[in-house]
Each structure stands twice: as C-alpha cells, then as structure tokens.
C-alpha cells in the first residue's frame, strides 16, 4: 500500500487541532507522573546492578559451560536494560523531575563505548528534532546504509547487506563515532586536527570501556581470564544486535517516511507531531518486550513525548492511536518479526538502484499554496 493512501494530508486547522489534542494528552499524563514512576526507575536501576553482578560473578566460573552461558546472558541482559530502559530514557531528561543526580539527563553516563555527551547531541537534539529529515537526521542509514529510495544510490551500496551485518555486530562503535562525522574528513570538510580534538573524549571513553570489560574483570578472574573476556565480548555483542534491531524497527519499516529539509521551516507544533508520527513505527508485544526495548516498542509515543517517563507510553498509546484514527493517520505497528522483516527488505532492496514513489504530503496541497 502506498503511503499516500495510508495517510490523509491535513489542513493547517486540522494540524493545529491534532497538535492540541496531543498536547492535552501530554499535560494529562505528565500530571500523573510521580512516586510510582520513581519507584519504577529505581527498580530498573536495581535490576541492572543485580543482573550485572550476578552475570559477572557467574562468569568467574566460566570454565564451567552452564555458568558461562548463564553469566553471559545475564550480563547481556543487564547491558540491554542499562542502555535502553535506563540510559537512553534518563538521558532524555525523563526523570529529571526526581532531581536525583544519578538520574540526571545531562550528566548520566551509560555503559557503552560512545560518550553520553555525543549521544545527547546526535540523538536527543538532531535525531529527535529533525526525525527522518534527509540531510539533517544522521540516523537515516548512519551515513553507511541506503534505506530509502530518496538517498542517492552509489555502487558502494551493493555491499550493504554485508555491511549492515557488520554494523549490527559493532553497533556500539557506530554510535560512538557517529558525531565524529568521518565522512567530512574524507571529503576534506573537517581537518585531521579537528578530528583529533573531537576524538579525545571518545577515545577516553572507549579506553575505559575496553579496560573494564576486556582487562579488569578478566584479570580479576585470574586463571579464568579467557572465559570472562569472551563472556563480556558476547554480552556486548548481544546488546549490539538487540539495540540495532530495535532502533532500525523504529524508523526504517516499510511505511516509515523521510522528509525533505524544507519541512522544518517555520514548522508548527502540529506539523512537528505529524512528522514524528509518520517517521516512526512501533513494535507490538507484551510487557517484557516493552521493558527490553526500553519502551522503544512505543517509538511513536517516544517521538511525540521524548521527555515523558517511558513506562507511560503503554498507557497513552491507545489514546494516541485513537487520535491518529480521527485524523486519518496510519499508526504504524506490528510484531518485531514483521517490522524487522521490513527493515531487512529495505536493506536488500535499496542496495540496488531504486526510485522514490509518489510523495505523501503532510499538508493538504491547497493549504500549502495558501
């Protein structure tokens, strides 16, 4: 089905009303945020810490295979929870109202090789403000993949099925270097000296993470150095694959749209909401899926309300869906298998030359002219 038939373009008045309804839903929900949400995030912190401790402890007995498997799984689980439900959400400022210095959006430092500061810039600011705007949101293919026909094809993309797999396995490293914009160095728009300066904090963080997972904890295990090192490697890999899958499902499913730069000029609040909706897609599933994805299974709600405690997304989702229906907008959701299948199809299909279909306007053509 083409996007034009899924979504009705809105008039300016409809767009404002659409925005006002979403604003009202936000105000209603934020008024309920309090002790329950605080208890929840504290429980998540405890789950992260205890699964990490248990995982690392079991890995010390990693010469015994069942201990290695269980230890690696627990450590991977801990890293996934920490990156997604804790780190990603805390860094959005979702829990700033608690005023807990350890849960502060501007200072939280997460357990991956990328620095939180760079993430706050590339993700919180660029990706969330300019979601799926071509040339402004670097998350569209991460400068490495061609996922939309609107991206210009180059022969390099023929290798992208392979590149996509390598990128998935090393996803945390991709996140770590995203802000360095290496493409600019190759094209001469950034000097080596500038790159060196920008790399300094990134290098420090990489060093600390490598030291922790591949030197310190393996050394603590003494003779079981190698099983611990391998366990940590696999746990990091598990987290890489999972976060990659979840993030790609959020914006690169078949019906997710991208936009030209012109959309952000004098953008109204309603228009911004509409663009967030059209560029995002959800994963349907149970509570476990929601927690394990850091509630990015509610990518749509997350993009409408990035600073709302993510555990509230499931609560607002039915209302968001009803609003979408009233305004003739597709609410893009599906099982992880179906959504990720669509992502894989995009990776394969757009490795080859492809042409954009008919654009699906956000605003009624008449209204645009007026």
């Amino acid at each position: 089905m083409s996007q034009a038939t899924l979504n009705r373009p809105l008039s300016h008045a409809e767009m404002d009303a659409f925005g006002a309804e979403l604003d009202a839903l936000r105000t209603r929900t934020m008024a309920q945020v309090g002790a329950e949400d605080a208890r929840y995030i504290r429980r998540i912190v405890a789950a992260v810490r205890y699964t990490e401790a248990a995982g690392r402890a079991l890995l010390f007995f990693g010469a015994f295979p069942p201990a290695w498997v269980l230890g690696t799984l627990l450590l991977g689980l801990s890293k996934i929870l920490e990156n997604m439900e804790l780190g990603h959400n805390v860094m959005h400022g979702q829990y700033d109202w608690m005023r807990d210095p350890h849960l502060n959006g501007k200072t939280y430092e997460w357990d991956i090789v990328g620095t939180s500061d760079n993430w706050r810039h590339t993700h919180n600011y660029k990706h969330h403000t300019y979601t799926n705007v071509r040339g402004m949101d670097d998350d569209i293919g991460y400068g490495l993949l061609r996922l939309f026909p609107e991206q210009r094809w180059r022969p390099f993309y023929l290798f992208q099925p392979l590149i996509a797999v390598i990128f998935a396995l090393l996803f945390q490293w991709g996140v770590a270097i995203q802000r360095l914009e290496l493409g600019k160095v190759f094209s001469g728009r950034k000097t080596k000296a500038e790159l060196r300066e920008e790399f300094r904090p990134v290098g420090r963080k990489m060093g600390r993470q490598l030291l922790k997972d591949y030197v310190l904890f393996p050394l603590l295990a003494g003779p079981f150095f190698l099983p611990v090192l391998l366990g940590n490697l696999v746990a990091n890999g598990m987290r890489n694959l999972w976060t990659y899958a979840v993030i790609f499902c959020g914006h690169f499913t078949a019906d997710a749209e991208t936009f030209p730069k012109s959309v952000v000029q004098n953008e109204s609040r309603g228009h911004w909401y509409l663009r967030q909706l059209r560029g995002s897609s959800n994963l349907s599933g149970g509570k476990l899926l929601h927690i394990m994805t850091g509630n990015l299974s509610h990518q749509i709600e997350h993009h409408l309300y990035p600073d709302m405690p993510a555990r509230r997304y499931a609560q607002v989702a039915p209302e968001v869906r009803a609003i979408c229906q009233r305004y003739g907008q597709n609410y893009n959701t599906g099982s992880i298998w179906s959504q990720f299948g669509q992502v894989i199809w995009r990776i394969l299909r757009h490795a080859l030359p492809s042409r954009p279909g008919k654009p699906a306007p956000l605003v009624e053509p008449m209204a645009e002219a007026a």
Binding site: T27, M30, G34, A35, E36, D37, A38, R39, V45, A46, R49, M91, H92, G93, D96, W97, M98, R99, D100, P101, H102, N104, G105, K106, E109, R120, H121, N124, Y125, K126, H128, T129, K212, L216, R269, W272, P306, D307
Partner: protein, 353 residues
C-alpha cells in the same frame, strides 16, 4: 579504606554503581555526596522534632549559627530546604537539627516523621552568623523556628568565655518552646547567658515570661545597654523587620536572618539572573524565554531544538522561581532542571550555568 585501594576503586567503578552498592549494604559512604543517617529523634516541642544525624566523611564541618541544605526524597521527588544546626560541633561528629512542622511544608513535615535509620543528603554548611572568639556582648532575638541557629550560638557561649548574651525567645504558646528545659539548665549554670521567654498567646504567664511582642519598652527592659550590643535576630520576616527597625540605629551591630519563600514577580519586571559557572549576573525581563534573553546579551548557552524537547539547554535552578512557558507550570524547587529555551525567570534566579 587506605588511599591506594581507594584510588584503584575510583578508577574502576562509576560513582552511581558505588553509591548503589554502598546503600544496598546499608552504608552511608558515597562517592562524592554527603549522606547522613538519622540516629536519634526526639519530639522537641509541640510541632517540632529534633533529629540527630551521623554524616559520612564528605561532611566538612560547620560553625554554630550556620545552616545547611538538607535533601530528602518525598514521594519519589527530592526536596531541598535549609535548616540550622541547633548545637555546636560535637566530638562524635554528629549533627543536631530541629525541624518545625509547617502548613504545606512538604519536606519539613516529612522530616518530622523520619525514624532512626533513615538516610538524607546534606549540602555543606553556610551562613554569616557566628560568635567569634574573644570579647563580645550579644542580644539574641528569636521567634518561632528562628530559635534554631540562636540555640547553637547560645550553647557556643560555653566555649567562648569572653562572650555574654541575652536571649529573648518568642513563641505563641509555652508548649511550642523548643529546648525550654535545656535553655533553663544552660542559663542556670552559665551566668553569661540571660534567658527570657515571651509567649504571645498563652493565657497564664509564669514568672519571668513576657506576654507581648517585641517593642521598645521590652527592649529597654532586657537590653538597657543596647548601644554596646551586637543584635542577632532570627524568625519570620515581619519579626526580623521589627527587630531591625528597633535596634539597627542604636545597637553596635545588627544581623537579621528571616525565612522567605521565593515569590514570583509580575511579567515584564526586570529580574537578576546569576549564572554560577560563568560568574556573571545579568538583568532580564521576567516572563521572557531565558535562552533568548541571555543570547540577546551576547551569551551562548548550550541549546538545541529551542522547543523544549531535546534537553540540551537544561540547567539546574539553584534558587528562585522559574516558569515553563509551554505548560505555565512554575518551578521553585532548588535543584530542578530548567529548560531555558522554554522557561522564564519569575523572580531573581541563580542558575548552574
């Protein structure tokens, strides 16, 4: 912990992880925060509770007459208020704070319910009021919870043999007097402290108790030699203003400390914004978006989306009243994050920027 393992630990462990496990094991040690455990609680008077706190090693000490910011979690949210120490430093390092219940006082009322074992967070001590070593004659005027720093100063007389003081302590009723017994005992053994209670709503007065508010006649009675005295007055704003009016011109020195909740001013009126990190103080119109107002004066604070969603421009409100212009909600809790692109100053502000 000896310094070397301590250093190694600091290199290997992140602060939040250390603090988490420390609390899990029931310790109040923390990476760089000053935590304190409530070790004793006493009903001090009607509507007032005295807490004895054992701080961790991050507490740097205080002098009598100072206060500190105390932070505790109430229904998931951390609240911070200032409280005075009510006794001089002790050899065991324990601190004593006395807290009065107040209407709508979310933190004070919660603190009054704390039981031994509870953990709170402390800031460092601050405040200008002190009793320097050496000769000095003082008049302490305390009303209501204004007794708290003056209690510490009264006790400090014992370690300061050349100082003497007269304390006049007002409350509405006798059962609201904090430290009544302790003060009487102190005055009995320490001739350098003269003590007067004043009760404004008590039908029956005992010998030596005044029954009225502060006025010139009362002042003549308790301090005929006012010109030789340093006056310290603590209490509600009106009380401290009265004390200032009656004594500032005549006394050797006047120092007043009043509790004033921050108040919002009308839109458009100029307010002062103090930026702690850059060390600047600027004047901006109240009610105007702060980011734009600061940029108009040539500053370039971090910012991103300029619509209140990316959190890049968030900075900590240290003091004052801010307002979120999108929701209209006012923010006056110290330690709140203010997204300055969509927030305005509603009073003089101090920001961690």
């Amino acid at each position: 912990m000896s310094p070397a393992p301590n250093r190694l630990l600091r290199a290997a462990v992140a602060a939040p992880v250390f603090d988490f496990w420390s609390r899990q094991f029931g310790s109040i040690q923390a990476w760089d925060r000053c935590l304190a455990r409530v070790v004793a609680r006493r009903e001090e008077a009607r509507g007032a509770v005295t807490l004895t706190l054992q701080p961790n090693r991050r507490f740097a000490g205080f002098t009598p007459g100072q206060h500190l910011n105390l932070t505790a979690e109430v229904e998931g949210v951390r609240l911070t208020r200032s409280y005075s120490f009510t006794r001089p430093p002790c050899a065991d390092g324990r601190l004593r704070l006395t807290i009065k219940r107040v209407e709508n006082g979310r933190l004070s009322n919660a603190l009054c319910e704390l039981r031994p074992g509870a953990v709170v967070e402390l800031g460092q001590a601050y405040g200008e009021m002190s009793l320097p070593q050496g000769p000095g004659r003082y008049l302490f005027l305390a009303a209501g919870s204004g007794i708290t720093p003056l209690m510490a100063l009264s006790l400090a007389l014992e370690q300061n043999p050349q100082a003497e003081a007269t304390l006049v302590y007002w409350a509405q009723r006798r059962d609201e007097l904090c430290f009544a017994e302790e003060l009487r005992e102190l005055a009995a053994r320490q001739p350098r402290l003269r003590l007067h209670f004043a009760l404004t709503r008590e039908p029956l007065r005992l010998a030596g108790e005044f029954g009225r508010r502060l006025d010139a006649a009362l002042l003549d009675e308790v301090a005929p030699d006012l010109s030789a005295l340093q006056v310290f007055a603590c209490g509600p704003r009106g009380f401290v203003e009265d004390a200032r009016r009656l004594t500032q011109e005549r006394a050797l020195r006047f120092h007043g400390e009043a509790f004033t909740p921050p108040e919002a001013v009308a839109g458009g009126a100029p307010v002062r914004v103090q930026l702690l990190r850059s060390g600047q103080t600027l004047e901006v119109p109240s009610g105007a978006p702060l980011l734009a107002a600061l940029e108009a004066q040539g500053l370039h604070p971090d910012s991103g989306c300029r619509m209140g969603l990316c959190n890049t421009c968030a900075c900590r409100l240290v003091e004052g009243v801010g307002q979120n212009l999108n929701s209209g909600e006012t923010l006056a809790e110290p330690g709140s994050e203010l997204r300055i692109c969509i927030s305005a100053a509603r009073s003089d502000l101090t920001l961690d920027l």
